[in-house]
Amino acid sequence: MKNTVRFIFAGAVFAFITPVFADEISEIKAELAQMRSEYEQRIQQLEQRLAKAEAANKEVASEVAIVKNTPVPKTHRINDFNPAISLVLNGQYNHYSESPDNYVLSGYSLQNEAGLVPQGFSLGESEITLSASVDQLFSGQATFALADEDGNVDIGIEEAFIETLGLGYGATVRAGRFFSPIGYLNERHAHAWNFSDAPLIYRGLFGDQLTTDGVKLSFVLPTDQLIEIGGTIGSGGHYPGNSGHRGIGDWLIFAKTGGDIGISHSWQAGVSHWESSPKDRAFGNGNNPVSFSGDTNISNLSLIYKWAPNGNPTQQNFTLQSDFFYQHENGQLFNSDTSMGAAYNAQHYGGYIEGIYQFIPHWRAGLRYDHLGSSFTRLSNTLLSDANFDLTNTNPRRYSFMLEWLPSEFSRIRAQVNYDQSSRIDDTQFFLQYTVNIGTHGAHSY
């Protein structure tokens, strides 16, 4: 038995050291190839398992993220509830071919600051706006305008109102002082206008802008096309009204509608009507003894169209906007120096149309055309000359061109040229202006 084992062992050893024949080599080669492919398969399987395990890890990671996401307590500061503050700074350089002191708008009596800004460098208006939610029901907002009037700082309350926060049924109530919802441009602060001065019709009818001290109620109807209706009642204390009313001094109704046409176009149209009955309202340009008492009413039609390719205004966009007003005044003129009175019946009408084109990002150019008219069915020549009222030009007109550079959402540098035919003498006006907004991010209103 032992010998047999020894023999087999010796045979096996012998077999190993025996020279290998050719067919055996190919057999071994085939075996090796098979082993290799098997290993490759196993490696592949292992790799796949590894990838799966990694993916599973990711899943775990996502779950960890959920845990991680439990909010971290924030440190609270004592001024956390302070209102949002934004400050608008504005400065300009102006040049006119005629003296701005002689500026008149033929057929219209200019009020307050409705003239031209002084020649040369001027600071213009600086504006501070504060706003915040008051509580769960109200928000509050105030805008103060600071202007330098011959060395005296004049602080004006442009707007100061409270407003309901989501009353329901599309209703919003606003109370306090606010820009009246008459016309498209009227509700916007001067720094948000596309030109550095007001359209002539705004200058002539309102002394640039109409303000209401009172209450506004508005409804957005539950329709897919915007329909907003509303109205205001107020003190009637702002031009072309004047102070001295005991109860409701002016009222206004308005309606707006608008929507999109496709993805690149949008529009809005509005109508509004305002009425008041001023007593002893100064008439004519500057201080004079003649005053108006009677009824005044103003109707407005406004249209806005905007284009932005694919609804993305960042690169290029175009805006076409227009406001048209018609005013009717009927009453008496009275000269307090001569105690002479006479009937007065007048119609003022006109508007502007402007187109603004952003041709490349951060650059915009715009054109504006103003056209006014007036007609008087009753007007006493004596009182007319007493008031030093200019009637030399039946159709004041103005052409404006502007070019803007907007380095960011918060700053703007603008150059503007007007060819102004407001009165007997034509005037060429040039403005170079900067406007910046510091603080809270402004709203992109339509």
Partner: protein, 296 residues
């Protein structure tokens, strides 16, 4: 008598409690559709080709938000220029800040790139952090869970339906995440240049390495000097691709592609950013495919 059958017919219609959703961006409109199914009607305020930061409070948007029961937006100041204005004008109580119908997606994920200093000279920065969270499917999952809970709260009658849809979505989405992660293995550690810094979450997820941004200050167009800096940098240490979003013009990207051996990739950024990205699933299919193609 003739009216009666008509009334009966009207009565026989199933009463569907339609929840009107106003989504600020298309990714949230798509997610709302996934989670709400037939119980919701969704309107997207922006499309995949619009910059969600630069939107105006257009009349059509006021009309839509007036009728909304639920607002699904990004938050973190992305819509700061227009959403607060829309809320104010809406006269709609249910979507005001703090109401149940006010859902801000960024409240449910951890934000990256929270700035250490807040100054407008640094460009268009968001104080709460990077708001472009939809570039990672992990974030989508987190937001989806919270959104489903919100739907169940607002429309309690149909809560079980929303729960079902959430469970279904969650399963499909996690399987999809696994698939995307497998596909994206070759992208790990790949060096890329971006035009605008809005891919942080995508890169964080796929471990892609951002080596430079063409816009040094977010929102401020790069100067030639900025661009040359990036060019010199990638000449020294090459990057594989330069990425821009479909809604942004690719001028800066094209400049770099022209000057250096680098591949341009335009990613959809959100649902509707390109033809393929019809929904959230397709968005990531397409995003990863485009990255892989550029990596070849």
């Amino acid at each position: 008598m003739r009216v009666l059958p008509l009334l009966l017919l009207l009565n026989s219609f199933p009463v569907i409690a339609d929840i009107n959703i106003f989504a600020c961006e298309p990714e949230w409109a798509s997610l709302s559709q996934e989670l709400g199914g037939n119980n919701i009607r969704v309107f997207s305020a922006t499309s995949g080709l619009q910059d969600p930061h630069h939107i105006q409070a257009r009349p059509s948007l006021i009309a839509k938000i007036r009728q909304a029961d639920l607002l699904v937006c990004t938050g973190a100041e992305l819509e700061i220029g227009w959403l607060p204005l829309l809320q104010k004008k809406s006269g709609n109580a249910s979507i005001q800040t703090g109401a149940a119908g006010n859902f801000m997606a960024t409240n449910y994920v951890k934000l990256l790139d929270v700035p250490v200093a807040l100054d407008r000279s640094l460009g268009d920065i968001h104080s709460a952090g990077n708001p472009h969270i939809q570039t990672s499917p992990l974030n989508i999952l987190l937001v989806a869970k919270a959104l489903s809970q919100r739907l169940q709260k607002i429309d309690a009658e149909n809560a079980s339906l929303y729960q079902q849809r959430w469970e279904g979505f969650s399963q499909r989405w996690q399987a999809a995440i696994e698939k995307w992660q497998q596909q994206a293995i070759p992208l790990k550690g790949v060096a890329v240049v971006v035009q605008h810094d809005n891919w942080s979450y995508l890169f964080d997820w796929l471990k892609i390495k951002k080596v430079a941004a063409l816009e040094v200050k977010p929102g401020v167009p790069p100067t030639v000097e900025d661009l040359n800096k990036v060019l010199n940098q990638i000449k020294a240490t090459p990057a594989k691709m330069v990425i821009n979003a479909a809604y942004q013009p690719s001028r800066a990207t094209d400049w770099l592609v022209d000057k250096a051996a680098i591949t341009k990739v335009t990613l959809p950024f959100t649902v509707g950013g390109d033809e393929q990205s019809e929904n959230l699933f397709a968005l990531f299919d397409d995003t990863i495919q485009r990255l892989l193609d550029a990596n070849k």
